[in-house]
């Protein structure tokens, strides 16, 4: 079993990935809805996923 800190890092990473997808995917979905286009949602999802992976690297991978 992982130690407490490793387990915590695991869940924080999970949280970041979820919120990246939710926020930027949500913004993309909203833009699609508002402008009647179809490409903002996938763009937002990819952007959010990339941004949250970057954030995870900043938090946990840098040192």
């Amino acid at each position: 079993m992982a130690t407490g800190n490793e387990e915590g890092a695991l869940w924080s990473i999970f949280g970041y990935l979820i919120s990246g997808l939710l926020i930027w995917g949500g913004i993309g979905w909203g833009l699609d809805h508002w402008l009647h286009k179809g490409f903002f949602l996938p763009t937002g999802l990819i952007l959010g996923c990339g941004a949250s992976i970057y954030l995870v690297w900043l938090r946990f991978g840098r040192e």
Binding site: T3, G4, N5, E7, G8, W11, S12, F14, G15, Y16, I18, S19, G20, L22, I23, W24, I27, L47, G48, A51, S52, Y54, L55, L58, R59, R62
Partner: protein, 261 residues
């Protein structure tokens, strides 16, 4: 064969979310349902146990005192001290209460006659997450000041300025929405799914046993055996979830105390 099954039996009603809405026991009051009583019972049991365990505190502990101290030391050492660090003592009472409350209510899910985890109602889990949310933000604000704490969350140091447009919404969402939500939903979903799983095997076994068809009667012990096996598995999940919610709360507190996350 198939039509025989349907014709001979009233039909198996699979357990659903309706099985979680237990009727009020006193009149129509929504505050008199089983989960409410179980929560009160858990508070009484926890208090009684730890008062009894600590009343005759001796240098060489008796069995009861040893049991009580083991739980306390587990929360204090492997959650409090290891995660939060040198300021951990202030938070041990909160973490200890959280852990014992959650584990007792979870284990109620497999205690005969009680057999209902209160946390399978999402409201109970939300309340715990709200407590945890208030505590870790309050700690951070008190330690670092409101502005510094919030800017610490929103602006990651050592990143080019334009990247903040991308990262700041994610950080804010993580700290204020995703964290309390995952904290409560993880606990709720595990307890809900576990209880449903036990319902499926036990009520399925009961249905098979009381069915007219002989083959089903013969096979019903397998369903009951699965129910018993799953009860042990559930016990593991129940303890693990109590540990996880306490651990994550401790981690959030530790994060709020640290200057640079």
């Amino acid at each position: 064969m198939r039509s025989f099954f349907i014709a001979s039996s009233p039909g198996f009603v699979p357990p659903s979310t309706n099985d979680f809405n237990l009727p009020p026991s006193i009149g129509d009051s929504p505050y008199s349902t089983k989960p409410i009583f179980l929560v009160f019972l858990s508070v009484i049991l926890i208090s009684a146990f730890f008062i009894a365990a600590s009343r005759k505190a001796a240098v060489v502990p008796g069995k009861l005192q040893f049991a009580g101290e083991s739980v306390y030391v587990f929360v204090r050492k492997s959650i409090g001290e290891e995660i939060i660090g040198h300021e951990f003592m202030r938070f041990v009472p909160f973490l200890f209460t959280l852990f014992t409350f959650v584990i007792t209510n979870n284990v109620f899910g497999i205690v005969p006659l009680l057999q209902f985890p209160a946390m399978s109602h999402v409201a109970f889990a939300y309340v715990l997450a709200i407590f945890s949310f208030i505590v870790f933000h309050a700690v951070g604000i008190k330690k670092q000041g409101l502005i510094k704490y919030l800017s610490g969350i929103a602006f990651m140091p050592g990143v080019p300025k334009f990247v903040y447009i991308l990262l700041t919404p994610i950080e804010i969402a993580t700290f204020f929405i995703v964290r309390p939500l995952t904290l409560s939903l993880r606990l709720f979903a595990n307890m809900f799914a576990g209880h449903l799983l036990l319902l499926v095997f036990i009520s399925g076994g009961h249905y098979m046993l009381t069915n007219d068809h002989l083959l089903l009667k013969i096979l019903s012990p397998f369903s009951f055996a699965m129910g018993i096996g799953m009860s042990f598995f559930e016990f593991m999940v129940q303890c693990l979830q109590a540990y996880i919610i306490t651990l994550l709360t401790a981690l959030f507190i530790a994060g709020a105390l640290a200057d640079e996350h």
